[in-house]
């Protein structure tokens, strides 16, 4: 990258290098990998007289996989996360497009600040606030009432859960899309226009394919967030029907059955890993067909 000679004079592995390389390795192995290993291990333990005992039995797996509520919860969670991924991608795209190609640099900077801030702030509290807005006697119904329209029932439905998912993931998805759209070669867009390609056709034939990686990564994050979220399905969806994360917390907090909760958690991890693998294949796949 630069003209200076590579620094071969230093030995590659020395105490200095080890000092800086080990903290992350040690910490993440000890407090990220190890807990996950214990989690998998614990799925084979038994609960006897409300006490946890180390064991190696498949009972928890059999129990979970033979219960109908688990499949219902799995399918519901997966379906909701899928819908959230598509919906949030669609909601974000026109806004990301406008911010990348139309907005002034100043507006764009302001928008980026306004998107980073909610990502790091009080998701829990914002969901509570949606509860106030969507409640039976909440703000939306208050406004509808003033207009003489009969109240709508949103809280406690999947729609309310979806509002929460959008709240959770929209800022990040928008940021990722905005980033990947600003990487799109503007000359390509102009060339398409000059060659007589209409605006909509340009968007779908030039902009979307160029920003594909960002669109897929954004959608994948939306799926990831929605799939694992606990707060929205509980406080907005009223846990009707329960999602996998609600199953986990119920098993732990009221059922006191950690091993079964661990089974559900491991299934979630496997599902997410499979999704990540498939989606990264989609994102980085060579574009085949006619060019």
């Amino acid at each position: 990258m630069d003209v200076t000679p590579p620094k071969r004079s230093r030995p590659r592995i020395d105490r200095f290098a080890v000092f800086w390389a080990s903290p992350s390795l040690v910490w993440q192995v000890a407090f990220f990998v190890a807990p996950l290993v214990v989690l998998v291990w614990m799925t084979f333990w038994r609960v006897k007289n409300f006490k946890l005992e180390q064991d190696f039995i498949p009972d928890n797996w059999i129990r979970i996989f033979s219960s109908g509520f688990f499949y219902d919860a799995f399918l519901y969670t997966f379906w909701m996360a899928l819908v959230a991924a598509v919906l949030i991608t669609l909601i974000a795209f026109p806004a990301a497009y406008a911010l990348a190609f139309i907005a002034s640099p100043r507006t764009r900077t302001l928008a980026i600040v306004a998107l980073i801030t909610p990502f790091f702030t009080s998701y829990l509290v914002r969901i509570y606030s949606w509860q106030i807005i969507l409640a039976e006697k909440g703000i939306i119904n208050g406004v509808l009432g003033l207009a003489g329209i009969s109240p709508v029932n949103i809280i406690g439905t999947s729609t309310a859960t979806m509002v929460g998912y959008v709240t959770l993931a929209l800022p990040l998805v928008l940021l990722i899309q905005l980033f990947s759209l600003s990487m799109v070669d503007k000359r390509l867009v102009e060339a398409a226009y000059n060659l007589g390609c209409g605006p909509l056709k340009t968007v779908f034939k030039v902009v979307v394919p160029s920003a594909r990686v960002g669109l897929v990564i954004g959608g994948t994050f939306a799926f990831l967030f929605a799939f694992g979220d606990y707060v929205s399905p509980l406080f907005l969806g009223g846990s009707k029907p329960p999602t996998l994360s609600i199953l986990i917390t119920d098993q732990v907090k009221s059922g006191n059955n950690w091993p079964r909760a661990a089974v559900v958690a491991v299934v979630m991890v496997i599902t997410l890993m499979a999704t990540l693998t498939v989606m990264s294949a989609v994102a980085y796949r060579r574009r085949g067909g006619a060019r």
Partner: protein
């Protein structure tokens, strides 16, 4: 439809999207000052009663103290780990580097509910269940990747030849680290301290699973949410929101201060 109309429609749409993002925050703050017991329209009148109730609530002040202890410790440890990892990525090439970096950046992609139950059993196994230490250990895991990302972005602006130049002039690696790398990374370190503190300040799932009786503030809020609807939640939520926004804004100011000075970067300590 001409191009100008399309532009206006699109920018109007952007405004709507941001309204959606801001709506819960505005509602939250507005109803924290509403005198009515149940948050609903029409507006009942201005009151500070809910804030007084929150400040008088001992569980809230204890929760706040616990959260501060956890957030500050997490910020310092996570920023150190993030800095170390970013530096290793910047300076060294080695086999397994991809796996090393993947491990260092993966934790935020795992749902916190899973980290929560994993930590629950793990902390019980090593005898730390129900302690603030357990919360800190878990929070550093998810916060360190953000620190790494921020500091790595800053290091990308530092000419990789500067360090070897100092070595060749006889400076030890430690001296170069202290006199070149760390001062150069200062704004990123500051912003990473703020962001990691914000991540920890907001995290409620791991904390809920492992903190036991030592509730942090978000865990207290979660407990309040499971109880009755009360504007006290708005009040405490507004306060939490204020703290995290302040942290994130500090972080962003630090980042923008160095992005603006960017043309100088690579030419020494700009």
């Amino acid at each position: 439809m001409n191009a100008a109309t399309v532009r206006w429609i699109l920018m109007g749409y952007v405004l709507l999207v941001f309204l959606f993002i801001l709506a819960p925050i505005l509602t939250l703050v507005a109803f924290s000052f509403n005198v009515d017991r149940f948050p609903a329209l029409p507006w009942g009148g201005f009151s500070l009663a809910w804030y007084e109730a929150v400040f008088a609530d001992e569980t809230v002040s204890t929760g706040f103290r616990n959260t501060m202890i956890v957030a500050v410790t997490t910020a310092v440890v996570a920023t150190f780990i993030g800095f170390a990892t970013a530096y290793v990525d910047y300076r060294y090439q080695f086999t397994g580097k991809r796996a090393y970096l993947a491990l260092a950046s993966l934790p935020p992609t795992v749902p916190v509910v899973i980290l929560g139950i994993a930590n629950l059993s793990f902390m019980a196994a090593i005898g730390l269940s129900g302690t603030l230490t357990a919360v800190i250990l878990g929070h550093v895991v998810i916060a360190a990747p953000y620190a790494m990302a921020l500091i790595r972005i800053r290091l990308a602006d530092l000419d990789p030849a500067i360090e070897p130049a100092a070595w060749n002039l006889g400076a030890t690696p430690w001296a170069t680290m202290g006199q070149v790398i760390v001062p150069f990374c200062k704004p990123a370190i500051l912003s990473s301290l703020a962001i990691t503190a914000a991540v920890s300040f907001d995290e409620f799932m791991i904390a809920w699973f492992v903190s036991g009786i030592h509730e942090t503030l978000p865990v207290r809020i979660l407990a309040m949410l499971q109880g009755q609807v009360s504007p006290r939640i708005n009040a405490v939520g507004s306060l939490v929101f204020l703290v995290t926004v302040a942290l994130v804004v500090v972080a962003q100011i630090a980042v923008f201060s160095w992005r603006r000075k960017r043309p100088l970067a690579g030419g020494g300590d700009g």
